[in-house]
């Protein structure tokens, strides 16, 4: 007994020591990392960025590119969530065919690169018409929105399926036994809870959608990376446009992350949310 207690005490002292040292090493490591990053960023900002050039390219190139990206994100993001709900519902359908089609859709759009999907839409579809006959003008923007929407609908659908499947079957059964239809039970009982469970995954996907707009440079859409490449190939200056691109993307993704956490908090009943 006595020995056992002694050993236990020894172990806990050791654990404590290790925890402390672990914390110290962690603090030292992160402090060093932060210092290196701070020195590096200061060096870039002080020695590498050409400020007259920076001012010069903010407007119009980067401003328009930024607004264009925001427009594409808003449209594709909303459409992807709407389409994703449909995909997710189809994915948990009781009808085998519907489920199989939704599965095939998800397999294709998650299983091939978005860049490839964009080429299929932008280069492949117009070739179904004779040369010069394709009727849609400015098809690169349509191709961008269609590609982003279809790709991210697959991810949203899969996230929502996870959310729906995490709701105990008894909930649906109870709702049905109260006389609610399948649609009512889904809408009133299952989906609100599933939505809360999927929100983090869907939010992550929206952040990825923001970054995926960088691929649109291959569709001749003057987005942020195109603006970067234009400035870089004209001036051979990399760091000035790099700084602008980084700031522009973070100006979108950081507030978007905040918004998602806010929605999550609101949806969490434990935190006094509505549901």
């Amino acid at each position: 007994m006595a020995t056992d207690t002694g050993r236990q005490r020894d172990a806990s002292v050791l654990d404590k020591l290790d925890d402390n040292r672990f914390r110290q090493i962690g603090m030292l490591g992160t402090a060093l990392f932060a210092l290196v990053v701070a020195v590096f960023i200061s060096y870039i900002l002080l020695a590498r960025v050409d400020y007259p050039l920076l001012i010069n390219i903010i407007y119009p190139q980067f401003t328009f590119a930024f607004l264009r990206v925001i427009g594409i994100i808003l449209i594709s993001g909303v459409l992807a969530v709407v389409a994703g709900v449909i995909v997710g519902l189809a994915r948990v359908s009781k009808t085998g065919l519907t489920r199989a089609i939704a599965k095939g859709y998800i397999e294709f759009f998650r299983g091939t690169p978005l860049l490839f999907q964009l080429f299929v839409i932008y280069l492949g579809v117009p070739q179904l018409w004779p040369p010069g006959q394709f009727p849609i003008q400015g098809f690169n923007y349509y191709a961008a929105v269609i590609g982003l929407t279809m790709n991210h609908a697959a991810y949203v659908g899969e996230a929502l399926r996870g959310g729906i499947e995490s709701i105990p079957k008894g909930q649906m059964e109870a709702a049905r036994s109260l006389g609610m239809s399948y649609i009512q039970s889904m809408r009133e009982v299952v989906l609100p809870q599933a939505w809360r469970n999927s929100l983090a995954a869907i939010g992550n996907d929206q952040v990825i959608l923001v970054k995926d707009t960088s691929l649109l440079t291959v569709l001749a859409i003057p987005e942020l990376l195109s603006a970067f490449r234009q400035v870089n190939s004209a001036t051979f200056d990399a760091w000035t446009p790099i700084v602008l691109v980084a700031v522009a993307y973070l100006m979108i993704t950081i507030p978007l992350g905040k918004l998602i956490r806010m929605l999550e908090a609101r949806a969490d009943p434990a935190a006094g949310g509505e549901h």
């Binding site: 280069l123 040369p131 010069g132 394709f134 291959v218 195109s226 490449r229 234009q230």
Partner: protein, 268 residues
């Protein structure tokens, strides 16, 4: 003109050609940075063999005259100059136009090719002059002198021109066929490959005189926006080697090898 920029990862296809029988030269294999494909200057046949005007000129200079081994390295055009200066390869042969901005970063060989910026439109188009270009959509390749010429034309037209910049020139030609742009501005020889090849019957050059005629150059019968010379690019500390290559270039022009290669790609 030149070229381009490409996109992102180009699959890393480093088409390395090494030719046998070059035992006598220096031991270093000359590695040549090039943005492949840029037909007819550097491209792979369907069998995967690297060929093109630049490739044959390299063969004539390095294997033929200087008795050196060489290999081509695939790289993307918009980063090709920093890549050279970082030491990723020794020289650039990539249909590269000599211009002042690039000349500040690298040293060029004597010019080995003259190119003209020309305009390709669909067969049924009613564009016959620069003025007709007002308000239309033009396709170009990112980072090329064609993109620069389009920018110049846009200024001439008071901003009334929409420029779509593609990663590779075939994308710009696809956009022309797909009715996404109304014209493509690019080097005459590269455009001619398309006009006489895949685009035969669907597209044509805009004819007329232009910058070339103004400079008294022996130009093709197309409306030319600018006249440009291609050069081989060297790092700025590589003068001795550059002189050797200039000598070899003069020698192959002298003995008819250059004309032979030229006619193989650009005859008619």
């Amino acid at each position: 003109m030149d070229r381009r920029t490409y996109l992102k990862a180009t699959g890393g296809a480093a088409a390395a050609l090494s030719f046998a029988g070059c035992t006598g030269g220096s031991n270093e294999t000359i590695s040549i940075g090039s943005d492949i494909p840029y037909r007819p200057f550097e491209y792979e046949t369907t069998d995967g063999e690297l060929t093109g005007f630049d490739v044959d000129i390299a063969e004539a200079i390095f294997a033929g005259e200087l008795d050196m081994e060489y290999e081509f390295q695939q790289t993307s055009f918009d980063t090709i100059i920093p890549s050279l200066n970082n030491g990723n390869f020794r020289i650039i042969m990539s249909a590269m136009t000599i211009n002042d901005e690039r000349d500040e970063q690298v040293d060029f060989s004597d010019p080995y090719f003259t190119a003209y910026q020309t305009i390709v439109v669909r067969e049924g188009s009613d564009i016959t002059s620069k003025e007709d270009m007002a308000g239309i959509r033009v396709g170009v390749q990112k980072g090329t002198t064609g993109a620069g010429a389009a920018q110049g034309l846009k200024e001439e037209l008071g901003g009334d021109l929409k420029i779509n910049e593609y990663d590779q020139i075939p994308d710009a030609f696809s956009a022309l066929l797909n009715n996404q742009v109304d014209a493509v501005i690019n080097d005459n020889t590269v455009s001619a490959e398309f006009v006489n090849g895949e685009g035969d019957g669907d597209v044509r050059f805009v004819e007329g005189e232009g910058a070339a005629a103004e400079e008294g150059e022996n130009a093709p019968p197309y409306l030319t926006l600018t006249v440009e010379n291609y050069g081989i690019a060297f790092r700025q500390d590589d003068d001795e080697f550059r002189e050797e290559v200039n000598g070899a270039l003069a020698a192959i022009r002298e003995d008819g090898t250059y004309d032979e290669i030229y006619n193989e790609y650009f005859a008619g």
